[in-house]
Symmetry: C2
Subunit: 366 residues, 2 copies
């Protein structure tokens, strides 16, 4: 006998009894155990990204009382970081936690679902995903690779990077060897820099040895641990390249489609929770660590000026032209992104941005 | 026989069988049905606030496959809006959805858990609640009234309000009868205005008849439906009084404490989900409706200037002094709020605010 049916039967029989005894408790609900293997592109306990992915895995197990039994593997514990995609697409694992722009070599559309230069802040990318057609386009892209993805965390606005010298004009970027991946790196290349892609763990050595002149990573919280300030004192803001990197819960599409509606909703709610909580954590910790970097390490905080930003803007348009030319889907993703950036962006001007400016000016928050 | 035990027994018996047959499915999980009565301070299908509360109730039912059976009552369907507090504190209902500043008459600390003048934007209040000690203080305050509260939605930055005439200095506020509740109203009173508290449905009539000269409500999306533009054409931004109103899922504390850990986590995840989704929806729709108001209704968008903001700032300090003087708990809530506002606020200056300013300047997003 199928046990699930047996228990359901028991429950229904109980329900019939309940008609005679109205104080009798309502029927219990029985659901089957689901084993989930989850891989991630982050090292074990890496602050923010790794701890957030681990928190998601634990939340999903705990909120189902272990019924969804998530076995979490950090990078290299089961597969290498960038093999997470194939591991889940093939069905060897059910879930990954990653930044989907890692897969932009497979299709440039993936970049838009993490962050692109001159892209969305946190509030904006959520509006796009939930109400601007973003999820539908993500489903189309991911579906073509056998995946289903959900927003599951965000780093918020990233810093522009660590430089050995001041950047006062776009000319100062020429010839610079800088660690900056993705479309942001392509923007730097248009301006005459030489973008280099390096995993986090190798950046410090490259910077100290002079193999690279500059690097970006995430923000004050994450950057503190890598001690980039020992080789490059100038810390620039704001980054144009990743204004709010959305992290992705990628799932095997067939597996996802085989789940019950309620199990899908449980996973969705857990993803929304991590999206909410990880962003809170980054904002809570970045201010504290920035202050510490300045006070204890003598880091020199610098703002990219308008001339530099204008140059970034022109270069970004060129980079986007190339991404859009890839395919009809890339063009549609770009068009949808631009529409939301215009609509929500114009609202941001008079809401968050202007309020923060006025409040911080009046209170002297600097 | 207790049915729950019976089903658990069936499940355990099956588990024992599974030892002998390893391909046999793992034991199913049985949990008991939970009946939840939820009341709200919003009218049925009120856009944003009401639809968000209803979405939360549906999500909780659906993600548990009806095991948590939420019966939702909009304002006046079971109790009047402002009776929601007593209904849940007394245990007549298990949950409310409300803005907790409605209870500031019971304790001024409640205001901080929705929005206060010169308070938090969305990212900041979440940082405070999740990582800055906010939840613990909320638990202390709510617990003393027999409640447990969770963040469950947000309106984002609210508009400054609808005025019949331009506001070019703080003097222009003198003698103005304005519908503005809460501590924001207290700030206006310090500047010589006469704040009035009116429920949403009565504002339009008061404005048209001249009983009031000005009103604030929420933002372009919500405000559109009330047609305030027919009586007051000047629409000011940004509001200093509610920079991101956090909505609250209030629960009966004894009931909450009687739930299993996993059931508490399911409710928490559903709350986080609504927090994430409602903010997305407000930001997605406010830009669209603002544009429509300007184009179709000839609304005149105006920015409060620095002089007006300086006056708001001074008045807000006076209002806070009064709130803090109430009790030790009020003082501790205020101190914690100020600490996070300084720490996260200084980070906002160089992250979201400066990035949005530069991006929108370069792209010409206005």
């Amino acid at each position: 006998m199928n046990r699930r049916k047996f228990i359901k039967g028991a429950s229904v029989a109980g329900g019939a009894t309940a008609i005679a005894a109205s104080t009798f408790p309502a029927p219990a609900f029985a659901q089957k155990r689901i084993e989930i293997t989850m891989v991630a592109t982050w090292g074990r306990d890496f602050p923010g990204l790794g701890t957030g992915a681990q928190r998601f895995a634990k939340r999903l197990s705990d909120m189902t009382d272990g019924r969804m039994n998530v076995k979490y593997y950090a990078a290299n514990e089961r597969v290498k970081a960038f093999d997470s995609f194939d591991e889940v697409a093939s069905g060897n694992a059910q879930m990954y936690h990653a930044a989907d722009y890692y897969w932009k070599g497979k299709h440039p559309g993936w970049a838009y679902f993490t962050a692109v230069p001159f892209g969305f802040v946190f509030s904006e990318i959520n509006s796009w995903i939930n109400f601007g057609g973003g999820q539908e386009l993500w489903d189309e892209l991911a579906g073509s690779f056998g995946l289903k993805c959900l927003a599951c965390g965000n780093t918020g606005v990233q810093m522009g990077g660590w430089f050995r010298k001041e950047i006062n004009s776009a000319d100062d970027l020429k010839g610079l060897k800088m660690r900056i991946p993705g479309l942001g790196g392509d923007v730097m290349a248009k301006l005459g820099a030489s973008p280099v892609s390096l995993p986090g763990g190798q950046i410090y050595e490259a910077l100290i040895s002079g193999a690279i002149d500059a690097t970006e990573w995430v923000g004050p919280w994450n950057d503190s641990f890598y001690k980039f300030y020992e080789a490059a004192k100038y810390y620039y803001y704001p980054g144009m390249h990743e204004p709010a990197s959305m992290l992705s819960l990628g799932m095997n599409k067939s597996w996802w489609e085989g789940l019950s509606n309620s199990d899908q909703l449980v996973i969705k709610a857990a993803s929304h929770a991590e999206n909410d909580v990880m962003m809170s954590e980054y904002n809570a910790k970045n201010g504290f660590y920035l202050e510490k970097l300045i006070r204890e390490q003598g880091v020199l905080l610098r703002r990219f000026n308008d001339d530099v930003y204008d140059a970034f803007g022109e270069a970004a348009e060129d980079v986007f032209s190339e991404a859009r030319a890839h395919s009809n889907l890339a063009e549609r993703i770009h068009a949808s992104f631009v529409k939301t950036r215009q609509e929500v962006g114009s609202w941001m001007n008079i809401s968050d941005q202007e309020y923060l400016r006025q409040r911080n000016r009046v209170l002297g928050v600097t």
